[in-house]
Symmetry: C2
Subunit: 252 residues, 2 copies
C-alpha cells in the first residue's frame, strides 16, 4: 500500500480521503485540517493535530486554498515524501523546492454531493519520472481517466473550466432570478438544462448552438432586451449575443 497524508479536509480533501479509503492502492495514514470541526461526524479518521507530528509517508496531497499551498508545503518536513497539490490553478513550483513535487488535480467541482470518482479526469504533473509514476499509480486506482498535463496547459484547462462551470452556473442564477421576479419556478428549466449538458457527449457545442443570436433573429433580441430594461443583466445579454454572432460569423 502507498502511504498517503492529506492536508486540508474541505470538499476536495474529504472526497479524496473517501475515495482512497474505498480503493485498493493507498492507505491514508494522516489527515490534517486547521479547522478541526471539519472532522465532526467522521469516525476512525487518522487525524493529526499539527504538522510536526505527521508520520513518514510516500506521498502528501495538499488540498487547501491556492494561496496557502506555498506556506503549507514549506511547513512540511521532508518525511512528507512526494508533495503534490490538488489545484487546477497553481503551478507545479508552488510546492516548496525542498520536496519532490507534483500536481494531482481531479477536474471536478466538489461539494457535499457524492461523486463517481471513476469518471473524473485526474490531471497529473511531476518533476521527475519516478514521481509521475507514483502519482499515476495513485490516480489510476481512483479514476479511469488519468492525463499528464503541464502547468501551462493546466492554466488553460482551468480557464476553460471557469467558463463551463463558474460562468455557466451564473447564467443558471440569472435564469432563476428572471423567473423568480414573475413567480415562476426555476425547476421548469431543469430538463432543458440537463439536455443541454447531456447532448455534449454526442454533439459539439459549436454545432448545437440555437437561439435568436445564431438565427440573426433581431426581432426576438429586441423584445428580450426590452424585457431586460432596468435589469442588471441587459449588458450581459448584449455581450453574449454579440459573442455568439461573432463566433458564428453573423451580423447583428
Amino acid at each position: 500500500m502507498i502511504r498517503v497524508s492529506i492536508i486540508g479536509f474541505g470538499n476536495v480533501g474529504t472526497h479524496l480521503y473517501t475515495a482512497f479509503s474505498d480503493g485498493p492502492m493507498a492507505e491514508v495514514v494522516a489527515v490534517y485540517s486547521r479547522n478541526p470541526q471539519r472532522f465532526d461526524g467522521w469516525e476512525d479518521l487518522p487525524v493529526v493535530s499539527d504538522f510536526t507530528s505527521l508520520p513518514e509517508v510516500d506521498c502528501t496531497l495538499i488540498a487547501v486554498a491556492d494561496d496557502a499551498i506555498a506556506a503549507v508545503s514549506s511547513a512540511l518536513s521532508t518525511t512528507a515524501g512526494l508533495v503534490a497539490h490538488t489545484s487546477g490553478n497553481a503551478p507545479l513550483d508552488a510546492i516548496d523546492e525542498k520536496h519532490r513535487s507534483g500536481v494531482f488535480y481531479p477536474l471536478q467541482s466538489f461539494s457535499k454531493r457524492p461523486v463517481a470518482f471513476s469518471t473524473i479526469p485526474i490531471c497529473l504533473e511531476a518533476e521527475t519520472e519516478a514521481s509521475y509514476q507514483l502519482l499515476t499509480t495513485l490516480a489510476s486506482s481512483l479514476s479511469e481517466r488519468v492525463v499528464r498535463i503541464d502547468s501551462a496547459a493546466r492554466a488553460r484547462l482551468h480557464l476553460a473550466a471557469v467558463f463551463a462551470n463558474n460562468f455557466v452556473n451564473h447564467l443558471y442564477s440569472v435564469s432563476e432570478k428572471i423567473l423568480a421576479e414573475h413567480e415562476l419556478d426555476f425547476s421548469l428549466l431543469h430538463p432543458l438544462i440537463l439536455e443541454t449538458a447531456q447532448r455534449l457527449s454526442e454533439v459539439a457545442p459549436s454545432e448545437a448552438q440555437t437561439g435568436p443570436a445564431v438565427r440573426e433573429d433581431q426581432q426576438t433580441i429586441k423584445k428580450q432586451l426590452h424585457l431586460l430594461n432596468d435589469s442588471a443583466f441587459q449588458a450581459l445579454y448584449q455581450q453574449l449575443t454579440k459573442s455568439i454572432a461573432t463566433t458564428h460569423g453573423k451580423k447583428l
Copy 2:
C-alpha cells in the same frame, strides 16, 4: 381518441408525433410539412400534401418557425379545430382570430436525440376554458408536468431559457475553443459540466456559485484575462466576472 393534426415536421413536430403515437389519448390523423424530404425514413405517416386536404380534427398543433405561425394559421380552414402553436416566444394572438386558439409549448431543446417526454414541462395557454381543458388532456397524456402560463409569463420563461440553454451552450463552445487551441480534449470537462447541471436539483445556483469572481480572487482574474489577451472572449470574461461580482455584492 382526440384527433390531432401536426403542421411542421422538424424536431418539435417529429417528437410530438412520436409521443402522441406512443400515447393513449390522441390519434395523429394528419402531418404536413412544406419540406416533404422531412418524411424520408418514416413509415405509415398520415402525410397530407397541402393545406386544403387536411381532414377535420379536434386540434391542430403548429410546429413551425415563429415568423411563419401567423401565415400558417390563417391558411388553415376552421375544420382545423383548436389551433395551438408550440412556441415559447410567440404570443397567443399569433394564431389567426378565426380559430379557437391556444399555446402548447413543451419546454425543451429538441434535436434528433430521443427525449423523455414525461419529464418535459408543457406550458399551456388558451382563450377559453374549454380549449384549455382539451390542451390539458393532450398535455397530461405526454407529461407529468403541465403548467398554465400566459403569454407575458411565457416571454419571461423563454428569456430565462435563452440564458440557461443558448447562452450556456455558447459558454461550452468558448471552453471547447480555449482547449482546442492547446490540443486539449473538451471531453475532459464533461464530468464537471454534468455535475454543474445535475446539482441544481439539490442546490440553487445562486448558492452554488464558486470561482475567482465570487472569491474576489483578483490574482486569478488578472492571470486569466492575460491568458485571453488577443482573444475575442476577453470582453465576455470581463462582463461575466463583473456580473457575478455585482450579483453577489463583491467589489472587483
